[in-house]
């Protein structure tokens, strides 16, 4: 497994790992059949991600992407967090092996789910999720 040191660091010392009590939004993406599933909890204050936690079932890349993605959206506005791309997560991890890039899509999609969960709970229209995603699992491709 040719992972970068950064991937290994986030895998072994995941940031923001755990559960948030009374979250404002929850997003789940993936499915256990594919081998990865990510659950993300957010607290929102003044339209910003005030706190974020994740739980992930998956490989090293899935766990590291989850950790990095949560670090990257912490404190950001919801608009900024929404714009976080899987490419940016992979880049921040100094790259992922080609067959593992789908794991970073998982994090991006889970964040979108959590933000929309928050929006719906606030009585707002959910933002439109990007087409072409929901494809992180090879079996659905």
């Amino acid at each position: 497994m040719d992972y970068s040191e950064k991937v290994m660091d986030h895998f072994e010392n995941p940031r923001n790992q755990g559960i948030l009590e009374n979250p404002d939004g929850i997003g789940v993406e993936g499915n256990p059949q594919c081998g990865d599933i990510m659950k993300i909890y957010i607290k929102v204050a003044d339209n910003r991600i005030a706190d974020v936690k994740f739980q992930t079932f998956g490989c090293g890349a899935a766990i590291a992407s989850s950790s990095m993605a949560t670090e990257m959206i912490m404190g950001k506005t919801l608009e900024e967090a929404w714009e976080l791309s899987n490419k940016a997560v992979a880049q921040a991890l100094d790259g992922l092996p080609p067959q593992k890039v789908h794991c970073s899509v998982l994090a991006e999609d889970a964040i979108h789910r959590a933000i929309n969960d928050y929006r719906v709970k606030q009585g707002l229209e959910p933002w439109e999720e990007k087409p072409g995603h929901k494809k992180h699992c090879h079996e659905s491709q």
Binding site: M1, Y3, M8, F11, E12, P14, Q17, V28, N31, P32, Q33, C34, G35, D36, I37, M38, K39, Q55, T56, F57, G58, C59, G60, A61, A62, I63, Q99, H138
Partner: protein
Amino acid sequence: MTESHIIYMDNAATTPVRQEVVEAMIPYMRENFGNPSSLYDIAKINREAVALARSRVARALNAEDKEIYFTSCGTESDNWAIKGTAFANRDKGKHIITSAIEHHAVLYTCQWLEKQGFEVTYLPVDEFGMVNPKDVEAAIRPDTVLITIMFANNEIGTIQPIAEIGKIAREHNVLFHTDAVQAAGHVPIDVKAMNIDMLSISGHKFNGPKGTGVLYIGKRVKLDSLMHGGDQERKRRAGTENVAGIVGIGLALELSVKEMDATTKRLDALRKRLVDGLLTIPKSRLNGHPTKRLPNNVNVIFEYIEGESILLMLNRRGICASTGSACNSASLEPSHVLTACGIPHEVVHGSLRLTLGEMNTQEDVDFVIDAVKDIVQKLRNMSPLTPDELRKY
């Protein structure tokens, strides 16, 4: 344990070459470098070395010397046996019987033959990964030319009822090949008593060198060659002999067979300790057959977590192991063996294979048990699938 100490528990993947085997091989790379096909004395020495290796392999299998053919690896042996038989017997039929849990060297060869117009039956296995000989018999058709069922499985270690299948094949006059890559040197093999027509072996699975293999071809077997060229290997497998490698595989197999009883006794005890220790982890299970399995194979599943993560954490602690998780394969497909045993995909991802070898001690086993317990807990705490009662912080 020092930082540089490695606990190698992936002996089904490969093994280190034994010191005495290395020493036996070295003279055939420098001073005895002659081509065995040549006339002069230094070539004769090599011819004799190859002949000695051939008879060592023959004795280990209860075969005759002239039934032993050296190849480049287990994969070549499997390809030769299956494609060679299929094409040589096209006038007799086009049907092949195999199992769902074969190594890819057999499965993909069969799939390729299907594209060439052959028909293949892939027999199912039970929850322990065992092929039922009755299924083999029921699958035989008038146009069946080959049955190929592995001796022992590389992932779960299950040992197939080879003698029973061999008997059925012989009664129906169908050729029987077995991929014995995981079995040779580890469990007793008798090609005559077991009615085996062809049998594949790989040197590096029993402390011999990589790049060496054997195909045993019984006298009555007619099969086409894959390699065409020179007259080596009784004109059936062309290519200058890998003399040093052949010396290595011959000696390694002889030594493994000689020490088999003692090794089995030692590994059985270690394996039992390892399995007992690992199964104290809640929501874990042993894959493969509880008793009819290779002495060195442990394959366990831990629910709610994924195997590559387990391997990465084990690697950081100097432990080398393997998994059937999709996330650890380039194809991103979960283990076809574990899924054939009826284990759901989401659970297959949490599989861990530990295969013991000469270097492992009881101390290693205890260290691995503690490491796995700790890692499983760590990953379960991280997983959204884990039920609350299994979480510990």
